[in-house]
Every structure is written in C-alpha cells, then in structure tokens.
Chain length 199, copies 2
Amino acid sequence: MLKKGLLGQVIQHLCCLPGVGPKTAQRMAFQLLQRNRDNAKALAEILLKALAEIGHCQQCRTLTEQTLCEICADPARELALLCVVESPADVWTVEQATVFKGRYFVLHGHLSPLDGIGPDELGLDALEQILAKGEVKELILATNSTLEGNATAYFIGELAVKHKVQASRLASGVPMGGELEFIDRVTLLHAFKGRRNIE
Amino acid sequence: MLKKGLLGQVIQHLCCLPGVGPKTAQRMAFQLLQRNRDNAKALAEILLKALAEIGHCQQCRTLTEQTLCEICADPARELALLCVVESPADVWTVEQATVFKGRYFVLHGHLSPLDGIGPDELGLDALEQILAKGEVKELILATNSTLEGNATAYFIGELAVKHKVQASRLASGVPMGGELEFIDRVTLLHAFKGRRNIE
Ligand SMILES: [Zn+2]
Ligand SMILES: [Zn+2]
C-alpha cells in the first residue's frame, strides 16, 4: 500500500498535531500535496524558520523571535500589573478576551514535583527578580483552575507576600452562558462558596 | 501583538489545512513550537521531501514517489478489473473499505467544462490506451455520486463501449451528492458488492 511511502510518512507526522486523527491527517496530506502545494512548501519552510529562530522572551519567557516580545517591548504596557500564566497560548487567550494592559510572565507549565518541575523550571527566580524591583503592584495569578494550577498559584502567592506585592487570583465559578445542569460539581461548589452579594 | 511575527506566519499557514480554523491553528502552532519540536522539524522536512519527490504513477496517475505506484507494481493485482476514481484519496478509501484486488485509474478531478477540465486533463487518452490493450474486462466507474461524477462516469462509460469493455457503476448505497472519501466502510463495501453493469 501507498501508506509505506513518503505520503505515509507525511500522514504519520500530521497525526501528531493536536486533534488530528488518521483520517484527517490523510485528507490534509492529500490536500497539501495536490491542491495546495505552494502553501505546503511555505508551511514547511516557515515552520523550519520558526523552529530555528523562535525562543523565549528574556523578560516574560513567552515565545518570540526577538530578545524582547512585542508586549514587553511596548512602553505603553503598565509595569504595575503582571499576569502570571502557564503557557504562551494563555497570553494570547488573555489578550484576545480582555482589555488587560499590563505585562505577563510565562511559567511554561506548573509545579509538578513528580515530573521534576520545580520553581527553577518555571523561572520563579526570574519572577522574584522582577518583583524585587518594586515596580509591580499587583501580581495576577492566571494559572489554570486545576489542582496543579491552584497549587502553583498558591506557591507564587507566597513569593508575592515575601516581596510585599499584592497577589490576586482569577475568579472561579459558573462560566458566562453556562447552564448549572452541565457544570461539574467542583466548579459549582466553588461558585457557591464564592457567591457575592448583589448591590 | 505576537501574531505579526514568525509564530503568526506559522498559524496563518496552518489555517490553510482542511478543517483547521484560527483557534486550532493557534493550538497546533504552540504545540509544534513547544512540546513537539522534534516532530515539527520532521514534519516540515518530510513535507518538503514529499513535495519534491512525489509525482504521479505513470500507469494509474495516483500519487507516488516511484515510476509505478505499489499497486500498479504489484503482480498479484488483477489486470482484468480497473477502478476509475476521481482522486488518490479515493484509491485509499476503496483499498481500506473493500477487498478489491484490481487496479485503479485516477482522474484527478471530474469533467468540468466551465473550469476547462475536459478529457485531456483527466488523462482519458491514457485510459483509452489501457482499454485498447484488451486486458481490462470490467471498468468500475467509482467517481463520486455527484452530478459531475455521474456525468464523468457516463462519458467514460461511452469510451468503454467503444473499446468493448464492460463498464459498471457503484451500486446504491452511495448517497446522492456523497463524496467517496467521507463514506463509511460498510456502505462502501455494499456499494462495491452491488455494482451494476451500465447498459
Ligand atoms: Zn516578553
Ligand atoms: Zn499506479
């Protein structure tokens, strides 16, 4: 069968993309090699270039091909607000969803002692250096609302206390438009505990 | 924003993949550039290699990096049965869903006069040369069950008549407007078994 050849290898590698199964990979491969050859070539080349040139921002650790990412390099972004997230994708998510005009710090993960991921791996020494400068007034802990994300937020919250910086955590609760019936018990429990008086 | 950089370009090119929207492309890009760098490099390299080396089988016109594809090069495949399909993906679909042991002829499209796609573009001269050899006893017209696919099957059926080769069309089971690539195996198997001679 054809699957053993180069085409098979293309499909196999496309299968490693998130959310791409064998059937989708096959459709992608045929499209890339037939209808869309120019884009396929451009995709492959830009991917190699990105792999070679994209590294971590020296200040916030997000992905960038420059020394400083565009957010860190932007003098209009407030130094007083620093938002800690687990991944560069989270930076984009916050940027797209909110009007946040502060800066970010990207952990590239969360504390996970069993996997050997401790404060060093998350760059917390660099974060402490930023906090020690005294410019940051509020540290927004926007790690995921998972067990690990919460533990990581708690740990970083202690660092904030140490440097006398106010730390805050994103509110957790029922998502906008979410129906109670379909919300998991833990979320609902938190939403109940965190209920606010209506003015 | 980061979107302007290399990362943005990677996402933009991933967006051209079938079924990949901006959000998915973003997730793919982050995974390729962070967690999955080795695979990303391998994917880009194999894609460039495939684009450079994969061409059309000299006999059946499917995609292959050899002169003859593995099916055409396989002496165990029957010469008497020739299955005409619209695309290389359809070859795979038939191979995976049926026990067909004949050979294929890939049109790379269907008759579409308005788009300038006539018999020449579909390689029907080459198909006629195969039919003229007299080895093919049955020509299975497995073009899509769309208006264009049906018209193309009818046109090729006439060529079969001219060369005194029995032509057949896949049986009911392929829904009207359905494209082979997206049909479940059982339906396709039944359609194959129930193929009818074209009068
Ligand atoms: Zn930065
Ligand atoms: Zn072939």
